[in-house]
C-alpha cells in the first residue's frame, strides 16, 4: 500500500436511539476501486451505517474522512456534494419524467432557465456512456423495469461525480437476470476507481462480487474478512454469534389430518411462486422462512385472500377450493391474517385501542347495528390483558402507543374472532425485544390451545426459535424443511441463501 489515504475512512462511529445502541464504535475503510460488502442480520446496524454515510442521520460520535479529509454531513445534500451517493432500497425517482431528466435532475442544461430537451438527452447519454452503460434515455422512467431504474439511479449518482456508492440491498426485488446486469455495471465502476459499499444479506452475492466482507452483529463490527478464504458457514457464524431467545418446547402435535393445506401454488411475476405445497396441523406453528422476495410473502398474502392471481388449491378442514380471491373469502374459511405493515394495512391509528381491538368483530359486539358499549369494553379489555398491552386508557389513540404495543393491538384484533387458523407475516418487524418475546410466547400458547399457525418471516432467529417445523423458501419454491429437533439458524440461512 502506498501512503495515500483511503477513499473512505470511518473511525469510532457510534449511534444510539435512546437506550438502544444501533452502532457501536465502528471502524471501516474503503479504497478507491474497492467493493466492500456489509452483511448482518435484520437490526444488526447495516441500515444505520448506510444512513450515516448518506448524511441522512448524524452519528453521536466518531469521524468520517474522505481521502484523508474529515467531513461532517448534516444532510443528504452534503454527502452528495462530497461525492458520496446512496442508492436506497426504495428508489426515489420522478416517474413522470424521462430517464434523461431523472439522470440530470436539478441540473438540467438550460439557458436563462429555459431547458433544452435535446441537450438533456445528449448530456445524459454521455454520462451513461462514460461508464460503459447503454441506456435509451428518452424513455419515460415509469416504463422502465425495476432493474433498469436502479441503473438509472446509479448513472444519476455518477453524473453528480460520485466517488463512493452505498447500495442498500439493491437486488432485493430484482430478477436473476437484472441482478447479473447490475453486478457487471458495479464491477465496471470498480475498475474506474469508484468505491462501493454493498449492504446485503444474500450470501451468494457477497461471494460473487466483493473484495472484502464486513460483518455486523447487534451494532458491533465483528469481522472483516476476504471472501476468498472464508466459508459461508463461517460468515453465518459471525452474523449470528451465539445466545438468543429461548422458548419452551411445544407439546407433541397429536392431530394427524392437516387443518390447512396448500396445493400446487403457482404465480408469475416478482416474486413468483413455483409449485408450493404446505400442510399445517392443529397445534403446530409452521414457520415459512426466506429472504425478502423469496416468495414467502406471497404465501401469507395468498392465504389472506390478497392475491387472486395465484393458481392452486387450498384445503381447509377437508374442504378443497381455489386460492381465496378476496379477504372475505379467506376469513369465511376461518383464516385470520396479521399483515406485515401494521401502519398501512393493519391498524387505524386515528382510532382508539378499543376500536381497533374490536374492528374485526363489530357484528359480535352489537345488536341491530348498535354497539353494546359494555360488551365491547369487556372484549377489548380481555384482549388487552391476554396480550399484555400497556396503555393509559382503552380510549387512547392507537397511534400514540409504542411500536411494540401497536403490534400487540394488531395481533389482538386478529384474535378477537377466535380463529382456528392464524397466518402472521413478519409479526415482530420493528418491534422492541421485550414485545417480541411476549408475542412469541403468545403464539406458542395459541398453538398449544389447538390453533394451526403459519408464521411467515424473513427473520431467521424468529423462524428458528418460534416454529415447530420450518419450511425454507428460495426463488418461489420450497427448498428445504427442518424438523423441530434439527433446526438451526445456520442451516436455515444456508438453505435460504443457497450458500
Amino acid at each position: 500500500m502506498t501512503g495515500a489515504p483511503p477513499l473512505l475512512a470511518v473511525s469510532g462511529v457510534s449511534k444510539s436511539y435512546g437506550a438502544y445502541r444501533a452502532l457501536t464504535d465502528f471502524d471501516f475503510t474503503v479504497e478507491a476501486g474497492q467493493s466492500v460488502s456489509v452483511i448482518g442480520e435484520n437490526g444488526a446496524g447495516k441500515s444505520t451505517l448506510a444512513k450515516i454515510l448518506a448524511g441522512a442521520i448524524r452519528p453521536d460520535s466518531g469521524t468520517i474522512a474522505l481521502e484523508g479529509e474529515e467531513v461532517h454531513f448534516s444532510t443528504p445534500r452534503d454527502a452528495i456534494k462530497r461525492g458520496v451517493a446512496f442508492i436506497p432500497q426504495e428508489l426515489a425517482y420522478l416517474p413522470n419524467l424521462s430517464v434523461a431528466d431523472n439522470i440530470l435532475v436539478g441540473a438540467w442544461p438550460n439557458r436563462f432557465g429555459i431547458t433544452n430537451r435535446r441537450m438533456t438527452v445528449v448530456k445524459a447519454t454521455e454520462e451513461a456512456r462514460r461508464f460503459g452503460i447503454d441506456l435509451d434515455v428518452a424513455r419515460p422512467m415509469a416504463r422502465l423495469k425495476l432493474g433498469e431504474r436502479q441503473i438509472v439511479e446509479i448513472v444519476k449518482a455518477l453524473a453528480r461525480r460520485a466517488r463512493l456508492m452505498v447500495l442498500d440491498e439493491p437486488t432485493a426485488s430484482l430478477s436473476d437476470q437484472e441482478s447479473k446486469i447490475l453486478f457487471s455495471v458495479l464491477k465496471n465502476l470498480n475498475r474506474q476507481g469508484v468505491g462501493i459499499v454493498y449492504i446485503s444479506h444474500r450470501m451468494d452475492e457477497v461471494y460473487r462480487f466483493s473484495d472484502r466482507v464486513d460483518v455486523l452483529r447487534n451494532g458491533v463490527h465483528v469481522a472483516s474478512v476476504s471472501p476468498s478464504n472464508t466459508t459461508p458457514a463461517q460468515l453465518i457464524e459471525y452474523m449470528l454469534g451465539q445466545a438468543g431467545e429461548q422458548l419452551p418446547a411445544s407439546g407433541e402435535v397429536t392431530a394427524k389430518e392437516p387443518r390447512l393445506s396448500l396445493m400446487g401454488w403457482q404465480a408469475e411475476g416478482v416474486p413468483s411462486l413455483r409449485g408450493v405445497d404446505l400442510e399445517v396441523r392443529s397445534g403446530e406453528i409452521v414457520g415459512v422462512f426466506g429472504l425478502r422476495g423469496a416468495g414467502q410473502e406471497l404465501v401469507a398474502e395468498g392465504l389472506a385472500g390478497l392475491h387472486g392471481h395465484i393458481r392452486g388449491d387450498v384445503v381447509v378442514k377437508g374442504r378443497r377450493g381455489r386460492v381465496f380471491g378476496t379477504p372475505r373469502q379467506a376469513r369465511r374459511a376461518g383464516i385470520s391474517y396479521v399483515p406485515a405493515e401494521r401502519k398501512r394495512e393493519g391498524l387505524v391509528l386515528s382510532m382508539s385501542i378499543q376500536a381497533n381491538l374490536t374492528l374485526l368483530v363489530l357484528r359480535q359486539i352489537s345488536r341491530f347495528g348498535i354497539r353494546l358499549a359494555t360488551l365491547e369494553r369487556r372484549r377489548a379489555a380481555e384482549l388487552a390483558r391476554r396480550l399484555n398491552i400497556r396503555y393509559r386508557s382503552l380510549d387512547q389513540r392507537t397511534g400514540d402507543l409504542s411500536g411494540g404495543n401497536q403490534q400487540k393491538v394488531l395481533v389482538g384484533s386478529r384474535l378477537a374472532s377466535r380463529p382456528t387458523i392464524f397466518v402472521l407475516q413478519e409479526p415482530t418487524r420493528g418491534v422492541d425485544v421485550g414485545a417480541r418475546v411476549e408475542i412469541h410466547k403468545f403464539l406458542r400458547e395459541l398453538a398449544q390451545g389447538g390453533a394451526a399457525i403459519v408464521l411467515v418471516t424473513s427473520d431467521v432467529e424468529e423462524a428458528v426459535v418460534v416454529s415447530d417445523r420450518l419450511v425454507i423458501m428460495r426463488d418461489g419454491a420450497i427448498v428445504g424443511e427442518l424438523a423441530a429437533s434439527r433446526k438451526t439458524q445456520a442451516q436455515a440461512l444456508a438453505l435460504a441463501t443457497a450458500a
Binding site: 398501512r344 391498524l347 386515528s350 382510532m351 376500536a355 374492528l359 347495528g369 354497539r371 393509559r392 380510549d395
Partner: protein, 340 residues
C-alpha cells in the same frame, strides 16, 4: 445497606409511576375535550365581542334568527361531516340542494302531500349520492372530481327543470319548515337539531359509525379487517345527498318558492364548518358536535356583522379569516405541544 437502597429506589419508582398514572388519565380526558374547548372558547369570544359591539345582538329573537339562518347550512354540514370523516368529500351538495329545492316545489304543487313529497326529495338526494358512491368506489374516480362533476350536473338540471323560473308554492302551508312550532322556534331549527342528534348517535354508537371512522382513518386496514368499504362509503354519500336535498326542501319552505339559484355556497361553507369543527381533511377524525359548533360560528359572524351593518363582502373576508385563524391556531397548538 446496598439491598435497602435498591428496594427504596424501586418503591420510589413504583410510587412515582402510580402518581403519574392519574394526571395522565386526566390529561387524556382533557385531550379529548380540548378540541371542543378550543373552538368553544373561540365561539364564546365571538359572542362576547358582538354583545358589546351591538346591543341588539344578545336577544332571544336574534338567537332564534341565527339558528333559523344556519339550519340549512347545518343540515348540509352534517352530511359533509360524515363524508369527510369517511375520508371523502361531497362538493355535489351545491347541486343536490337546488335540485331538492325545485323538486319539492314541483311535487307539492301537483298537489301532493308534504310527507310524500319529503320522501321523494330524500330519495332523489340519496339517488344522487348513490351515483357519487358508485362512481367513486366502483370506477375509482377521486371524490373531489366526482362530486365536482355531479355538482355541475345537479345545478344545471335544477335550471333545466324550471327553465330558470322561480316556482312559488301554491299552498303556503306546504312550506312547513319555515313555520313556527313554539316560542318562536321554527321547524327548520327542530329539523337541524333532530338530524344533528341522530347523526351524532349513529356515528358514535353504531357499527356503521365505527366503520365510517375506520375507512377514513385507514381504508386499506379497514378493507383487510373485513369491512365492506365500498358499501360503507357509498351509503355515506347517499346520506350526504339525502341531507343536501332535504336542505333544499327547507330553503323552499323558507322562501315559499322553489328556486334553482339557491345553495351555491353550500359546498364550500359546509366544508369550512366541518374543518372548523376539528375534522381532518384526510379523514378519520372529527364529528358532529364540532361541525355544528363550526356552523354556529359561521352563522353568528354573519348575523352579528349584518346587525352592525357591515357590507356582505366584508363578511366573506371575515369568514375566511376566522377559518384560517381557528385552524391555524389548532395547528400551532399541535406544533407547540410537540405532537405530530
Amino acid at each position: 445497606m446496598a439491598e435497602e437502597g435498591r428496594s427504596t429506589a424501586e418503591s420510589g419508582v413504583a410510587a412515582s409511576l402510580g402518581a403519574m398514572a392519574r394526571p395522565m388519565l386526566r390529561g387524556q380526558i382533557l385531550d379529548r375535550s380540548i378540541q371542543f374547548l378550543g373552538i368553544g372558547t373561540f365561539y364564546v369570544v365571538i359572542l362576547i365581542f358582538f354583545s358589546f359591539a351591538e346591543p341588539n345582538f344578545l336577544q332571544y329573537s336574534n338567537a332564534i334568527n341565527i339558528l333559523s339562518a344556519v339550519s340549512v347550512l347545518g343540515i348540509v354540514a352534517v352530511g359533509q361531516a360524515i363524508a369527510i370523516v369517511s375520508g371523502g368529500f361531497d362538493l355535489s351538495v351545491s347541486g343536490t340542494l337546488p335540485l331538492g329545492a325545485v323538486a319539492y316545489a314541483a311535487i307539492v304543487n301537483r298537489p301532493t302531500g308534504v310527507l310524500q313529497a319529503t320522501l321523494l326529495v330524500l330519495l332523489l338526494g340519496a339517488a344522487i349520492g348513490l351515483g357519487n358512491g358508485l362512481i367513486i368506489n366502483k370506477i375509482g374516480i377521486n371524490p373531489l372530481i366526482t362530486t365536482l362533476g355531479t355538482l355541475s350536473i345537479g345545478a344545471g338540471l335544477a335550471f333545466v327543470f324550471t327553465n330558470g323560473i322561480t316556482t312559488p308554492l301554491k299552498d303556503l302551508n306546504t312550506g312547513i319548515w319555515g313555520n313556527t312550532a313554539f316560542a318562536g322556534i321554527t321547524y327548520d331549527v327542530i329539523a337541524l337539531v333532530v338530524i344533528g342528534i341522530v347523526s351524532f348517535l349513529v356515528l358514535r354508537y353504531t357499527t356503521f359509525g365505527r366503520a365510517v371512522y375506520a375507512i377514513g382513518g385507514n381504508r386499506e386496514a379497514a378493507r383487510l379487517a373485513g369491512i365492506r368499504v365500498d358499501l360503507v362509503s357509498t351509503v355515506v354519500y347517499m346520506i350526504s345527498g339525502a341531507l343536501a336535498a332535504f336542505a333544499g326542501e327547507v330553503v323552499t319552505s323558507q322562501l315559499l318558492a322553489g328556486s334553482a339559484t339557491v345553495g351555491g355556497a353550500a359546498a364550500l361553507s359546509s366544508i369550512a364548518a366541518v374543518i372548523l369543527g376539528g375534522a381532518a381533511l384526510t379523514g378519520g377524525e372529527g364529528g358532529i358536535v364540532g361541525t355544528l359548533l363550526g356552523v354556529l360560528i359561521l352563522g353568528t359572524i354573519a348575523d352579528g356583522m349584518a346587525l352592525m351593518h357591515v357590507a356582505s363582502f366584508y363578511q366573506q373576508i371575515a369568514t375566511g379569516a376566522v377559518l384560517l385563524l381557528a385552524v391555524g391556531f389548532g395547528r400551532l397548538r399541535q406544533l407547540l405541544g410537540g405532537r405530530h
